[in-house]
């Protein structure tokens, strides 16, 4: 009896330790539950309506959908790699620049976020078209004779998507770069490493967690893209989101649209899990 009496208040105290944060998070949790988890669950049910997996069978065997799904993953890969190639140096610049230059850099990086995605996409159409600003400039400067096909194809889609997603690559890499101990680079130099070796053997491995995080983020965001490929691809670049929309709006086939969505979700989760694995094994030292 005595021990129970002693234990009781302790347990109460422990529960109250969690009560604060839980209450704090309850509103966002309720929000997520009602507006995200419930709809996703409904979608899942919708995709197996009638108790059959026919929708999934179609999504995973029909040549068109398989091709588009693979194409979507491919575009995701291209976008991630291009973002990495462009974003790594930018992140390095931001991480090593003086305060003033870093601020200027961040403003430029964040500027697109303050404009609507639709407006930005239309802006790219103005820039990239046959008679767009880019082609006219290149023609008039004599660099090319024929206008370059920049719009309504893969090039246009990639340009638009990279533009939107670049910050998602830069930020995780930047934050890791800021944490790299400068002393390690000095030590490597003192031990006889050339600048290139310091970069390849020390700096890149140390910033790899940021790279993996950025790649994950950009890849997962990119395979769900809809507006940019729809507008800049001109119907010639099919991504899975575009097909899903068609199923809903034109064919009113909610079941099949749901199955396609689930396949997309599954692909995203798979990629996320794969990167998580890589990330974890690589974070072991930090």
């Amino acid at each position: 009896m005595a021990s129970a009496r002693i234990a009781a208040p302790r347990r109460r105290r422990r529960r109250s330790e969690h009560a604060g944060p839980l209450a704090f998070a309850s509103l966002p949790l309720a929000f997520l539950f009602l507006l995200f988890l419930v709809p996703v669950a409904r979608l899942m049910l919708l995709s197996v309506e009638g108790g059959t997996f026919a929708n999934y069978e179609r999504a995973l065997t029909d040549g068109l959908y398989v091709r588009v799904l693979l194409g979507t993953l491919q575009i995701g890969l291209y976008v991630s790699v291009i973002c990495l190639v462009l974003g790594y140096p930018v992140a390095h610049f931001l991480a090593s620049a003086s305060r003033r230059w870093a601020t200027i850099g961040f403003v430029f990086l964040l500027l697109p976020f303050w404009t609507s995605l639709l407006v930005r996409t239309y802006a790219w159409m103005v820039l990239l078209g046959r008679n767009g600003v880019v082609n006219r400039f290149l023609l008039e400067s004599g660099a090319i004779r024929e206008p370059l096909p920049l719009l309504y194809n893969m090039t246009g889609v990639l340009i638009g998507m990279v533009h939107v997603l670049l910050p998602f690559m830069v930020f995780p890499i930047y934050s890791i770069m800021r944490r790299v101990d400068r002393g390690l680079l000095l030590a490597a130099e003192g031990l006889g490493a050339t600048p290139w070796k310091i970069f390849a053997r020390i700096y890149v491995p140390l910033t790899l967690p940021g790279v993996l995080a950025g790649m994950t983020l950009v890849f997962i965001l990119s395979i769900g893209f809809y507006i940019t490929p729809a507008l800049l691809g001109g119907g010639r670049v099919l991504m899975i989101a575009v097909l899903i929309e068609k199923q809903v709006r034109e064919f009113l086939d909610w079941g099949f649209a749901s199955a396609l969505s689930m396949v997309l979700l599954g692909a995203a989760l798979l990629v996320y899990a794969a990167f998580r694995r890589l990330l974890r094994s690589d974070l072991q030292w930090s």
Binding site: G183, L186, A187, E189, L191, G192, T194, W285, S286
Partner: protein
């Protein structure tokens, strides 16, 4: 002196209008371990960075084995350095960390494996070669850093306060281990620390630095027993230091008269009569005196503080209104019999003391 491996001459480094280093001359002979000892802000780390090549001097020359390396890239200097926080590469195993400088030098794989294994055996880490740095204790990390900095036979080993992060016992153990390794490999070594005890234990010679200048260079014994000025006397070891003006007593023997009028007999000075000097008496020199005992200087004092330090006890005695005298007394002799408030007689001979210039007084 043996041939100097490292010769630093006339090094000046200014930050704005402030001279962080005001003309440093220092030579380290082959196989010698020299310590740069100074308080923080004395410029010792700046000097180390200039020698390593991470910073450039405004004036002066750094020579390593006769070659001018003042402006050489750090990677070209062939200097091994152990950093304060070890700077081990967190993503590389112990083995790969130690192999790094050899890989950078394009040494063949088989030879790298051999040399890394040999040096890891030397620092007693052979069993841990596959571990990552974060899986090691502080002392082990320290030894990896040491192994990495000596594996490529550097022309010079630099140690930048490497024991600061270790607890006392481990620190003492590592100090001896470093010294043993340094002896065994015959490494010319420059060691930077603010810990005077560490400097006394480790060094062949010590260079005491203050405010961008070297105040004195000498063996630990010289520095401790014959400091050249107030700063060195005060900074190295425990000390009783009194200001006084030189004069003579009735018998014509030299004395120093302190501010409060106390006359202290001193050794034959090299300073002119009337000049102000610092009178240094190390705490282990004065003796607690019984009746009938004689000494050149005999003073009455009252115990104001008793400090036990294990093997001995320290008494702080008030000898006049302005001066305390610290006396260190071995435990086995009359220890513990005195308490605060007791009146005692202490005495010491002129051979127990040393006069220093008051320049460099903090």
């Amino acid at each position: 002196m043996r041939e100097a491996d490292l010769a630093v001459s006339g090094i000046v480094r200014r930050f704005g209008n402030v001279a962080a280093l005001g003309g440093i001359d220092l030579a380290v002979a082959r196989g010698e371990l020299v310590t740069i000892l100074g308080p923080s802000g004395s410029g010792k780390t700046t000097l180390l960075k200039i020698i390593a090549g991470f910073e450039l001097p405004d004036e002066g020359i750094v020579r390593l084995k006769g070659e001018d390396i003042t402006f050489a890239a750090p990677a070209k200097r062939g200097i091994g350095m152990v950093f304060q926080n070890y700077a081990l590469f967190p993503h590389l195993s112990v083995e790969r960390n130690v192999a790094f400088p050899l890989e950078m030098r394009g040494v063949r794989r088989a030879e790298i494996r051999e040399r890394v294994a040999a040096v890891l055996r030397l620092v007693d880490l052979a069993d841990l070669s596959a571990r990552l740095p974060r899986e090691l204790s502080g002392g082990q990390q320290q030894r990896v850093a040491l192994a990495r900095s000596v594996v490529f036979d550097p022309g010079l080993l630099l140690l930048d306060e490497p024991f600061g992060a270790l607890d006392r016992k481990l620190r003492e153990q590592m100090q001896l281990e470093v010294k043993r390794l340094q002896r065994r490999l015959g490494l010319t070594t420059l060691f930077v620390t603010h810990d005077q005890e560490e400097a006394l234990v480790l060094s062949d010679r010590i260079a005491v630095m203050s405010e961008g200048r070297i105040e004195q260079v000498g063996t630990p014994e010289e520095i401790y027993a014959h400091p050249v000025n107030w700063f060195v006397a005060d900074f190295v070891g425990e000390s009783n230091l009194f200001r006084g003006h030189l004069g003579a007593d009735e018998a014509g023997r030299p004395v120093a008269v302190t501010e409060s009028g106390t006359r202290i007999r001193v050794p034959q000075p090299s300073f002119p009569v009337g000049s102000e000097v610092g009178v240094l008496v190390r705490p282990e020199r004065p003796r607690l005196m019984g009746d009938g005992q004689q000494a050149d200087n005999v003073l009455r004092g009252r115990v104001v503080e008793v400090i036990y330090v294990g093997e001995s006890v320290k008494y702080r005695l008030r000898i006049d209104a302005r001066h305390d005298l610290l006396v260190r007394w071995p435990f086995r002799e009359r220890a513990g019999t005195l308490a605060a408030g007791d009146d005692v007689t202490v005495g010491w001979n002129v051979t127990d003391m040393h006069l220093v210039a008051v320049s460099g007084q903090a």
